[in-house]
């Protein structure tokens, strides 16, 4: 154990995890796959203390305090000696990340009024890892403000050494040794509109009471994720029907945190996407039917065996000896092309739900709400992220189109269901 600890502390470079290998190839001059997590505090943020808190936390997260480098065959990440980047927030979050900007860090921390936000490149971690990173920084920030914040939940002890299980590639550890599956590719419906200017998007957050949403979901016999994703799926079926063109499948992509199914403690990527489809050509669906379809599909597919087989399918490419020896620039080119001609073409929209951001009670007193959002898509009009803390759930849409029909109908739907919604937006 001692040997492992010593290795992590002295390790200057890491391989990207299996999911992380594809993101640098998808990166363009105008778009990056970024996760944004924000915490609304009850008091205004002090940028100097935030910078200090971030500096103190970085050694605890060896796979975040890194810069991306190009090897001959693969990208890798190495320790970044530069100071982290803390910036005032702007109107256009989730801008592209360029690997030679922001002191070469692949995350940025923003402050605005009482909000601390973290934008992190998906190659480093998933939504869960981003939230642990942000919560630990915020806890340290509050400690610097003079509050006594203990460790627990999504707040790590920064005086501890990083642990081996936190930096492992859990995909490799838990991948099936025997089974594999081919991922089906279908062209699906996309709600289109007028594109926003480059590097900008419309962000709309709706705050809803968790108990009200939970009660409504329970009434339908589904979980909160299934209920909210079901609304999104139902709305897209209605949008497509109104357009009156050839009816394509509507496919909801639901990223699932695999840590719930496996005993992994990794802070790197460990989530996979379930693509749940419905064919509108089968007839007119009521909301209850859509909900039942989505709920049963998700429950049927979401089990450790299937996840393990999905990991194996994703790993097959990385393990293939022929693929391993292809030079990096060709791999990146291929990943970029696959992303353009596949990826988002196979999904209508994304709904990612972090669940409850668990923090110690002493920290809860200082937090108003917790927000998680994916970056705007390249084809998916509105992509949705949700997270809750206490009794407040924040549902955030990041939309690359000027038209906000999806958001409007989604929140109107919730209001019609008797749920109280409070709206915030970056719309000017």
């Amino acid at each position: 154990m001692k040997k492992i600890k010593k290795n992590i502390k002295n390790k200057t470079w890491f391989k990207l995890d299996n999911a992380g290998t594809v993101f640098p190839g998808q990166n363009t001059q105008t778009w990056s796959n970024v996760i944004r997590a924000s915490i609304n505090l009850k008091e205004e943020v002090d940028p100097e203390l935030l910078t200090e808190a971030t500096k103190r936390c970085l050694p605890r997260f060896p796979t975040m305090a890194v810069r991306l480098r190009n090897g001959f065959f693969w990208h890798y990440i190495e320790k970044n000696p530069e100071p982290p980047v803390i910036l005032p927030d702007a109107n256009n979050p989730c801008r592209r990340i360029k690997f030679n900007e922001d002191n070469r860090y692949m995350f940025r921390i923003f402050y605005y009024k009482n909000r601390i936000s973290l934008e992190i490149f998906h190659a480093l971690t998933d939504g869960f890892g981003a939230c642990v990173f942000l919560n630990t920084i915020t806890a340290e920030y509050l400690r610097l403000k003079g509050y006594d914040i203990p460790v627990g939940g999504m707040v790590l002890d920064i005086n501890e050494e990083p642990k081996a299980e936190e930096i492992e590639d859990s995909f490799v550890k838990y991948a099936s040794k025997t089974g594999s599956e081919k991922l089906p590719l279908f062209k699906t419906y996309h709600k289109k509109g007028t594109r926003m200017p480059k590097h900008t998007s419309i962000i709309t957050t709706g705050y809803v009471p968790v108990d009200e949403v939970k009660a409504k979901a329970k009434q339908y016999g589904v979980t909160i994720t299934e209920y909210l994703a079901g609304i999104l799926m139902y709305l897209h079926i209605q949008f497509q029907k109104a357009e009156g063109k050839k009816q394509k499948d509507v496919c909801m992509q639901i990223p699932v945190n695999s840590r719930n199914q496996f005993p992994s403690k990794t802070l790197r990527n460990f989530s996979v996407n379930y693509n749940l489809r419905i064919d509108p050509n089968w007839g007119d669906y009521t909301f209850e039917e859509v909900l039942r379809h989505l709920s049963l599909s998700l429950r049927l597919t979401n089990n450790p065996k299937h996840l393990s087989v999905m990991f194996a399918a994703n790993l097959a490419m990385e393990k293939n000896p022929f693929m391993r020896f292809i030079p990096l620039f060709i791999k990146d080119l291929a990943v970029g092309l696959v992303f353009v001609f596949g990826a988002e073409k196979t999904t209508t929209s994304v709904f990612t739900n972090l669940g409850v951001a668990k923090v110690p009670d002493e920290m809860m007193e200082h937090i108003e709400s917790f927000i998680l959002m994916p970056s705007p898509g390249r084809l998916n009009g509105a992509r949705v992220g949700a997270a809750s803390i206490g009794n407040t759930m924040a549902i955030t849409f990041s939309n690359m189109y000027k038209e906000t029909d999806v958001e409007r109908e989604f929140f109107r739907f919730l209001v019609r269901e008797g749920i109280h919604v409070k709206i915030e937006s970056n719309k000017q």
């Binding site: 929140f411 109107r412 019609r416 919604v421 409070k422 709206i423 970056n426 000017q428």
Partner: protein, 235 residues
């Protein structure tokens, strides 16, 4: 506390319009309320633009070096043979086609097409000038009309596609382009070579394209025919 009358959602205090439907918010109790804190600042942070222009300038300088070397070598070692002209003109042609679009600040398709047409014509003219013995006039009667005609047709095609036509109309446009380019090329060659207005073998390609064209135009205009074809030949 205000609510949107259209959406029924609560809005931030002091907000002037609903973020979902843009409906103005007029709360009689808060008419003088200026205490509005936007959720995001107004400032838009734009990342630095890509340095493609810088890269293009570097490539231009790199291309300049071997050309200068060629000119000096040519003048010093074989001043009687102007072989370096071929190297320089080929480099210039390459530069105008592939580097020039990245140098100019605003890329406009018609400006680039015009420049490309002129560059191609000048490139061919260099060969014509250096190799003609005073007998042929192939550049004026053959190369220049072909160059101008083909680039003009590409410009027209580009204009048509900028209107985002339907799939059938796109097929019609492409077939028209090939038919027109084919007939035009054949006419120019025959006029130059035999001084006759004829199309000979290339007419076969032209006629094939024309038949397809008629078919596409008919299916585009006649919905009954389109339905009948879809019914009979579905697979």
């Amino acid at each position: 506390m205000s609510y949107c009358v259209n959406c029924g959602v609560e809005l931030s205090a002091g907000t002037k319009k609903c973020a979902l439907c843009d409906t103005p918010v007029i709360n009689p109790n808060e008419l003088n309320n200026t205490d509005y804190t936007p959720a995001f600042p107004e400032r838009i942070e734009l990342p630095k633009e890509t340095k493609s222009r810088f890269g293009a300038i570097i490539i231009s300088i790199l291309m300049l070096i071997p050309n200068i070397v060629c000119i000096i070598t040519n003048l010093l070692l074989t001043p009687e043979l102007l072989w370096s002209v071929y190297v320089v003109s080929s480099s210039l042609m390459f530069w105008f086609l592939f580097v020039f679009p990245f140098i100019i600040k605003k890329t406009h398709p018609y400006i680039i097409l015009t420049v490309d047409a002129i560059a191609t014509a000048v490139y061919i003219f260099v060969f014509y000038y250096l190799n003609s013995t005073g007998s042929g006039d192939w550049f004026w009667k053959l190369a220049l009309p072909l160059d101008a005609g083909i680039f003009l047709m590409i410009a027209l095609l580009n204009y048509y596609f900028s209107k985002k036509p339907t799939k059938v109309k796109s097929a019609i446009a492409i077939l028209t382009f090939f038919t027109a380019a084919d007939i035009f090329t054949c006419l120019v060659i025959n006029l130059y070579r035999y001084s006759v207005i004829a199309t000979y073998i290339t007419l076969i390609i032209g006629v094939s394209c024309l038949i397809l064209l008629v078919f596409f135009i008919a299916t585009d205009r006649n919905k009954k025919l389109y339905d009948w074809l879809s019914r009979k030949f579905f697979f």
